[in-house]
Amino acid sequence: MQRDIRTSAIAIVVFTILLGIVYPLAITGISQVAFPGNANGQQIHFNGKLIGSKLIGQNFGTPVLEKNGKVKEEKGAVVTEADPRYFQSRPSATEGGSHNAAASTFSNHGPNSVRTKEANEENIKAYLELNVNPTTKKEYDPGLTVSRIPVDAVNFSASDSTPKSHRANAWIQAYRVASVRRLSLARVDAMIAKYTSSRALGFSGEEGVNVLELNLALDRISAGGA
């Protein structure tokens, strides 16, 4: 008994040092030398400013202003509305504003829940409205209806901070982005293809468009006029 207690006490301290301090620090050291970009979150800098991480989705909305010109806030988070110039990320249900990458959370909407249906309907409404040209009152993508919306466009993702959505979703939005930015649809579609990652080894997982990288590339074109 006494022997076990003594050994246990030594063992837990020794293992804590080895496995809890030496091991993570060693991996950190190796990673920082061998893969500094990955280990630090694939940061994207633009004009010396940190814009985000390639792996983390963002809210491509602009702050809503109140009548007095102040930024509108609800529950401590800035209220935003989707910016039609940008491809929109998948819906996010994080607290403190959507795509909160400091507090990831599941939406936890059950399969047979009225809440889920209502959330879906709300997202569908927002998606359809955004893809209607406000001056002509017509869909950018002709004939866009509920049944043509890819599910990932209106279902909350798991991490609620993913940058990836499906190409079918991007193709619909491409009509809007091309029109608002005065680019040819073919050019926007080509850019979508450029920022789409394929299935691993040809079979595992699904294709996904990195919406953040795609939007950044669009901005570069608009800025450079190239």
Binding site: M1, D4, I5, S8, A11, I12, F15, T16, L19, G20, P24, I27, A34, F35, N38, N40, G41, Q42, Q43, F46, G52, S53, L55, I56, T62, P63, G96, H99, N100, A101, A103, S104, T105, F106, N108, H109, G110, P111, N112, S113, R115, T116, N120, I124, I149, P150, V151, D152, V154, N155, S157, A158, S159, K164, A200, L201, S204, G205, E206, L216
Partner: protein, 595 residues
Amino acid sequence: MTAAGWLTIALFAVVLTALAFPLGSYMAAVYSGRSVILSPILGGPERFLYKLLCVDPDREQDWKAYAKSLLIFSLAGWLLLYFILRTQTLWNFTGLNPTGFHSASWNVTFNTVSSFMTNTNWQFYSGETTMSYFSQMAGLTVQNWLSAGVGIVTAVALIRGIIGRSGKSLGNFWQDLVRTILYVLAPLSVFAAIVLVSQGVLQNLSNYLVAHTITGLTQTIAMGPVASQEAIKMVGTNGGGFFNTNSAHPFENPTQFTNFFEMLLVLIIPAALIFAYGRMTGNRRQGYAIYGAVMFMFLGAAAVAYIAEAHGSPAQHAAGLHTGVIHGSTGGNMEGKEQRFGIAGSALFDVVTTVTSCGAVNSALESFTGIGGAVPFANLSASEVIFGGVGTGLYSILLYVLLAVFIGGLMVGRTPEWLGKKIEAREIKLAGLGILITPLAALFCTALATASSAGRKSVAEVALSKAGGNTPQGFSETFYAYLSQANNNGSAFAGYTGYIQPNAGNLGAHGISFADLLGGFDMTFARYAPILFALAVAGALAGKRVTPAGLGTMRTDNPTFVILLIGVIVLVGALTFFPALLLGPIVQGLTGHLY
């Protein structure tokens, strides 16, 4: 459903088997004391550790001594982890608490500590909003290793009891533990961590980033030493995420490839242990028989989950969505799933982590369809024997094998024998108790939580749904919580929590204390009681004489026995849990009604 989806599932099974087979021979050699490829490198550190810990690795232990060392060591781990987590700010001098998080209250810590000690990794906390890097590394990561080690050595001790030919010795706990960590877990974890970083998993000690997005918003991005914890979290079938959304988070599981890789990490040791068992008994077919039985159930579960999720949910259909594949889009139930994994990658991952005691998730189980969600329920109801956790899976299924041998013996009317040893009343009693004690804990806690007002407060549906939580979903949340904790799995229908983040101020509200404490006891009891029964069975078998197999001996390495074994597992699981399963996921799967 797509061809690529089915191919993923099929190829996963093939790759897993191909990798587990050689690892099984390696592990058999490690635990038989034979020299292995890493012995020249690790022999020195191994001897040094024995000296440091003041243990004599040659001192043989009977089952009681083995169990005593195991329990005292686990208790020591519990105490140190509790201390580290409750004094989180005390360690700020290390610079490993850049966000300045304070400790969680005692009840949440009680739950967390019990959870990590028992290899459950149920999380009532959210990593990136409550834990310092120091707590994650020196606290939680350490128990990720040690709880995995404790599970594996129990299985090894049971195998030694089954094959033992002289006396009562099961080996030496300390020797087994040190060897497990050095020879098995360490090489796999270091390799896995580096591969994960090379694919985009984080590994740094920086402050959280503050980004200024292209539309003029600010975004804070959590950082941390993720890969080192992610590797052992998977390899040790622990499953506690560094971040709240676990392996769905892009920093834990960034690509289609890492998803496949992480699934392999989860199953590699449980699968290899089955082969190791065959080798150690001297008859590899004993291992193949068990492997065949569990692989069959595993593939069945994956297929059902994939088909159900690809079909979509009633809520989606009611909202007018088309859930078929459009223009190559995934279709299906994408609520709570990541685009890069798709339906097949999500369904398979969640089967992988719920058949084992891993409990990591890459999608929201709560949002799975009724039938898709019934699959993790069924996996847990089978008491984590379909591969199961590292070690836990093997010792649990060996108890089932014992039961199957006994039932088979009764059917053919002969004294049951297993590997030449007579099975008598004592072993059957112990194995029966070992099998039934986990379901008992799960059902008892579920009943208590469902019937008490304190328990009901933890159900998210109570607060959010119009039916006030009196829904199948609300019951599923509660039932899954205690079933998962009893099986030391740790995945969740994550609505079951009173911990509404990121406001850490509301602890104590929403019945969280009740759920913390009940869950903590549930996990601890359902972990150590079966371990003790497994070791007691090992002790009972160790001293028995081996009689050579005769013509009438029932074989335990042929297809007939595989079918019998599957039958026993399904029967015990169904008889225990079917009524409760009907009330939750199955009723949702059978109706298009919305609640």
